[in-house]
């Protein structure tokens, strides 16, 4: 994906939604139970090219629906900016929908 799409979050959000809708396989497991495990995933994300949106989705473990027995979703995640529909975790920095989820979910 080209870096110019960063300037149009709505367009980028639509493309991400389409990738997830098309069945992009992402690493939803293992969920990082500790800070150390969380940090390892962040390290993987930092190693990606800054325009590698697909890589971020895969390593982040994104799905386009609530996840787990408690129905966790971006809406309640501490990194989610409700009004901008944006994940504010610096290593992700993506437009996301409130009903989505990823394994870096934190409340």
């Amino acid at each position: 994906m080209g870096g110019n799409k960063r300037d149009d979050p709505a367009k980028l959000l639509a493309e991400i939604a389409q990738m997830l809708e098309d069945g992009l396989e992402t690493q939803t497991e293992p969920f990082p139970e500790t800070v150390q495990e969380f940090s390892k995933i962040l390290d993987e994300l930092r190693a990606l090219d800054r325009d590698d949106i697909k890589g971020r989705l895969v390593i982040g473990g994104f799905v386009n629906h609530p996840y787990g027995p408690d129905g966790q979703r971006c809406q309640e995640c501490i990194y989610y900016l409700v009004h901008r529909k944006w994940c504010d975790l610096p290593e992700l920095s993506l437009p996301v929908e409130p009903e989505w989820w990823c394994r870096l979910w934190k409340i």
């Binding site: 969920f31 139970e33 500790t34 800070v35 150390q36 969380f38 940090s39 966790q72 809406q75 309640e76 501490i78 990194y79 989610y80 900016l81 409700v82 009004h83 901008r84 504010d88 975790l89 610096p90 979910w105 934190k106 409340i107």
Partner: protein
């Protein structure tokens, strides 16, 4: 006139530096306005060698009345309980501490090291350090759980790494001017006037705490430091955002997470790599929640707050 003697055990001098920077009242005000006679202090005392030993012996014997014995730093017991790793004025410091505490009207522990051992007493505690009347959360310490000074009060604990300058001087003035009866202490013998509210009380980031907007990186002016950067403001008892540092700021106001340095467990998490400046979570939920909040309540509150958050909460409103 109240005689004050200040000694330093296993310490970095941080509380001395803090004391010398006090403003309300200042160290000078203690002498000129509040009748405190500084018998000796590590940075202010004039006596050296034999003269210092004579002064200390005169205090122990009662020849010189010791009204306030202030102690900074840990009581060092190593090696093998002798205390020889911290000798002072011809003998282990711990022996002076015991004898001086027994004759003082008031004993005041200044800073984390003197109150509950602080960083030196953190495992594996190579100096076998103790606080005066606590070792971390465990009551007892060097003087024992039943110790009281001649006034009848236990050790007055003024924790912090370091303690705020004005916490130190205001308590010394209260004691020296006969107002010790107005000092009520909490379960850790901290003056309630300073240690009942939380570091979060008065924090400029409270609105971001309320609307669950995080500051995931240092240097951000928007966002709460509790969610990602390990801030302990919501569960630490201190007035750091009510009685500001240097009269104008605090850690959290400057973007630095509270480290919880006025609590007995400080430093938290045994300083393991990856645990400092990181909110500890279990399955995505903070391990340590704000005081008085349970996990179910926290999750419900987060959901409601996120749903109700206004757009401005996501912006850096400090930019003009």
């Amino acid at each position: 006139m109240a005689n004050l003697l200040w000694l330093q055990g296993g310490a970095c001098s941080g509380n001395t530096m803090s004391f010398l920077n006090a403003e309300e009242p200042s160290a000078v005000d203690l002498v000129t306005d509040f009748g405190i006679n500084v018998l000796w202090h590590p940075s202010l005392g004039m006596e050296l060698g034999d003269n210092l030993q004579k002064l200390l012996r005169a205090c122990v014997s009662g020849e010189i009345a010791l009204d306030i014995f202030a102690f900074e730093g840990t009581v060092v017991n190593a090696p093998d309980g002798t205390g020889d790793w911290n000798r002072f004025a011809g003998r282990p410091m711990k022996e002076w501490v015991r004898e001086l505490a027994n004759v003082a009207q008031f004993v005041v522990a200044l800073g984390d090291c003197a109150t509950w051992g602080g960083i030196p007493a953190t495992a594996p505690n190579p100096t076998d350090s103790q606080g005066l009347q606590f070792l971390k959360r465990e009551r007892g310490g060097f003087l024992g759980p039943d110790f009281t000074a001649k006034s009848g009060l236990p050790v007055i604990n003024i924790p912090g790494c370091p303690a705020h300058p004005d916490w130190i001087t205001q308590i010394l003035v209260a004691v020296a001017t006969g107002n010790a009866g107005e000092i009520t202490l909490d379960e850790f013998q901290r003056p309630k006037t300073f240690f009942t509210s939380f570091t979060q009380t008065g924090c400029t980031r409270n609105m971001h705490f309320a609307y669950k907007v995080s500051a995931p990186e240092f240097g951000q002016r928007k966002g709460c430091l509790f969610y990602d950067l390990g801030c302990r403001g919501p569960m630490t008892h201190s007035p750091c955002n009510r009685i500001l540092w240097n009269r104008q700021s605090s850690k959290t106001r400057a973007g630095m997470p509270c480290l919880g340095c006025t609590e007995p467990e400080f430093p938290f998490f045994d300083l393991e790599p990856g645990t400092v400046f990181k909110t500890q979570t279990v399955m995505g939920v903070p391990k340590d929640l704000p005081a008085g909040v349970d996990q179910a309540g926290y999750i419900k509150l987060t959901g409601a707050a996120k749903a109700a958050a206004p757009a401005w909460a996501e912006e850096d409103i400090f930019v003009v």
